[in-house]
């Protein structure tokens, strides 16, 4: 289940409050033996900006339309939608805190999600391809995204919101480790 929530103000339900940054959060219990790293705060800023730039104008337009076409009373209908948007603001924060990754001796762990949690373990030897992408919006915020591919298409391992240097360091390290431990199908 993809739990990335670019500007979608739903799905991120209240979870247990987690300490900010990359510290161990309840998203993955019993994983204190490894060194977890979080993703950049700029990712949260980017997603919140996208949320602010897209949803409120639409809501405003709808409110005006309701007011003009149906009647002022009907604008009450907009209250739940506004509430969902406000909730989305906080949900994005929780989702951002839930993204963590850790390099272990032989594999990479990626953990994410608040309501729908997912943890992926990819052994280095199984990586077929490591790619770093960065779209125009991500570049504005100085971010890059790391995507791992194995021979199984179901392996959906990606880390968004890394600084480009970290993404490149990770890519080089993973490629190197992958070559050292390479195993095909």
């Amino acid at each position: 289940m993809e739990t990335g929530s670019e500007g979608v103000p739903t799905e991120r339900a209240p979870g247990v409050e987690a300490p900010p940054g990359g510290g161990p959060s309840p998203a993955a219990p019993a994983r204190d033996d490894v060194e977890w790293r979080g993703v950049e705060r700029a990712l949260l800023r980017m997603r919140r900006t996208v949320l602010l730039l897209t949803v409120p104008p639409i809501l405003l337009a709808q409110t005006v339309l309701l007011w003009v076409l149906v009647g002022p009373v009907w604008t009450v209908l907009m209250v739940p939608l506004v509430a969902v948007t406000v909730f989305g603001w906080f949900a994005l924060g929780r989702n951002w805190r839930s993204w963590r990754y850790a390099e272990r001796a032989d594999d990479l762990l990626i953990s994410r999600g608040v309501l729908w949690r997912e943890m992926t373990v990819v052994p280095y030897g199984r990586m077929q391809l490591v790619e770093v992408t960065s779209g125009p919006l991500e570049r504005r915020y100085g971010l890059a995204r790391l995507q791992l591919h194995t021979a199984a298409a179901a392996t959906d391992a990606a880390i968004p919101g890394l600084v480009p240097e970290e993404a490149e360091r990770l890519r080089d390290r993973l490629t190197e480790l992958g070559e050292a431990r390479s195993a095909g199908l």
């Binding site: 949690r117 990819v122 199984r126 095909g184």
Partner: protein, 493 residues
């Protein structure tokens, strides 16, 4: 032969229908020898001037061996078949057209269409060739857009030889190599039957790592038959399948019901036809493909032969099986019969059956050959049930879920009426995932998913959350150590 003289000047399509018969046959005989490159191949037909003129008109022939000369005929019929399909699908409009058509128009259409189709068939055959080198099979094809497929033999996952009914009558076969990333175009259709067998032997010998000089003459590896499914058992097994009967009943009753409600024959037929298709696939269609199922073992791996009208063959080299599934339909359980399915990377879903029906003991014997060190009974025994509180997540069916691990495989079972046991060798695990939805988290449950190289996933659902995290960790370790002991890609080295 006056018409032969004028051919080079004439329009291209009129020259083509006879040419393969005339000029290509002598060349095809020497399929083992490498052809000289360029378009002068058919010069051996004894009429140098005409042939050379003809060759100038044709595109350059790619080097390599050719497909069987019967191939163009298959492609010739493609446009006509397409027309027929169109006529069936849009029946009303097709009828309208036909009533307007006079005999003359029909004749003209045929005179234009048939040569055009023949020309297309001939040309597509002309520009297709294949070549076996030490490390790969190269298939060159494409009339306008050239396409060269390089299929690496050390990445070979399986070799399929298919002989459809018509092709059997003519004595030709299709040969396909399953490699991750190949598509339907990368098959050799058609080559002569004897050639296909020889080519298969050569490709397997090269893929196995036999010295390149010895490979062409290595011949077919000896095989030992493991199981042969008798037709009577297949018949009984299919009669005991619920899906076939379900479709059959639906085919009879649903159109009748729809007709009585709506009074429209069209609607009844529209719903009946797909169901009839389903019934066909589940019963007779399956009987035809799974008839005379033979599993044999050879140094080149597992050999599967089956089919009544279309004979199909697959060779799966050792260590290529990514996952095995043992399916037990409800009504087979009394007889203790099982169906075994296997997944190989790069293969299509159609040929994923290892054994359509066999007693459990026999299936266990075959399984031990496919995945060395795997004991079916042990794998079934280690699958422990899920916690009782899982009934709040999946009522009733929670009892069907189970998961366990042996030294060799990750085993999960599911299903209550129709039981399924999935085995993934540790060495084939590509990644391990854990997922947990909100409801599962309330119940302190989680799912563990294991992805293997055949684009499949085995899931151990509804485990206790602490156990699930332990499974993920342990499985990552096991897959790593399992890979170290895995066999080499070239299995005879």
């Amino acid at each position: 032969m006056p018409e032969r003289q004028e051919r080079p000047e004439g329009p291209e399509r009129s020259e083509t229908p006879e040419t393969p018969e005339d000029s290509e046959r002598p060349e095809h005989r020497g399929w083992r020898r490498d052809h000289p490159p360029g378009g002068t191949g058919p010069a051996g037909s004894g009429e140098p001037a005409a042939a050379r003129g003809l060759a100038r008109l044709l595109p350059a022939r790619p080097e390599g061996r050719r497909l069987h000369p019967v191939t163009p005929w298959r492609r010739t019929w493609a446009p006509i078949a397409a027309l027929a399909v169109f006529a069936v699908q849009d029946f009303n409009r097709a009828r309208e057209w036909f009533t307007q058509l006079t005999l003359g128009w029909l004749l003209v259409a045929f005179l234009l269409l048939l040569p055009a189709a023949a020309a297309y068939g001939f040309l597509s055959w002309w520009v297709t060739s294949y070549q076996v080198t030490n490390t790969e099979l190269r298939i060159r094809t494409g009339l306008l857009f050239r396409r060269v497929a390089h299929i690496r033999l050390d990445r070979l996952q399986a070799v399929d030889v298919t002989r459809p009914l018509l092709a059997r009558a003519v004595g030709v076969a299709k040969l396909k190599l399953d490699v991750v990333g190949t598509n339907d175009k990368d098959e050799l259709a058609f080559v002569g039957e004897a050639d296909a067998v020889a080519l298969r032997a050569e490709l397997l010998a090269r893929a196995a790592g036999i010295a390149p000089e010895a490979a062409p003459s290595a011949g077919e590896a000896p095989e030992r038959e493991l199981v042969r499914v008798p037709p009577s058992r297949l018949t009984v097994a299919l009669l005991l399948m619920g899906t076939g009967w379900g479709f059959l009943l639906a085919t009879i009753f649903v159109p009748v019901l729809i007709y009585s409600w709506t009074g429209s024959v069209g609607a009844a037929i529209a719903t009946g036809v797909p169901m009839l298709g389903g019934a066909w696939v589940a019963t007779l269609g399956r009987y035809l493909t799974e008839y005379d199922w033979k599993v044999a073992e050879s140094p080149d791996g597992l050999r599967l032969d089956h089919g009544l009208l279309n004979r199909e063959h697959a060779t799966v080299p050792p260590g290529r099986v990514q996952s095995v599934r043992i399916v037990e339909p409800l009504l087979w359980r009394r007889l203790d019969w099982v169906r075994v399915e296997l997944e190989v990377a790069g293969s299509d879903i159609g040929n994923s059956v290892l054994l359509p029906v066999a007693p459990r003991g026999v299936a266990a014997g075959v399984l031990a050959r496919v995945l060395p060190g795997v004991d079916l009974d042990e794998a079934a025994r280690v699958a422990r049930p899920v916690p009782r509180r899982a009934r709040w997540a999946v009522p009733v069916w929670w009892q069907g879920y189970g998961h366990g691990v042996t030294d060799a495989v990750f085993a999960t079972r599911r299903g209550l009426l129709r039981r399924e046991l999935t085995l993934v060798p540790h060495a084939k695990v590509q990644s391990v995932r854990l997922t947990q939805g909100p409801w599962e988290r309330r119940l302190r449950l989680a799912d563990v998913l294991v992805d293997h190289g055949a684009n499949g996933t085995a899931s151990a659902r509804l485990r206790d959350v602490d156990e699930a995290y332990a499974i993920v960790d342990a499985q990552a370790d096991r897959s790593r150590t399992g890979r170290r002991t895995a066999r080499p890609d070239r299995w005879l080295t």
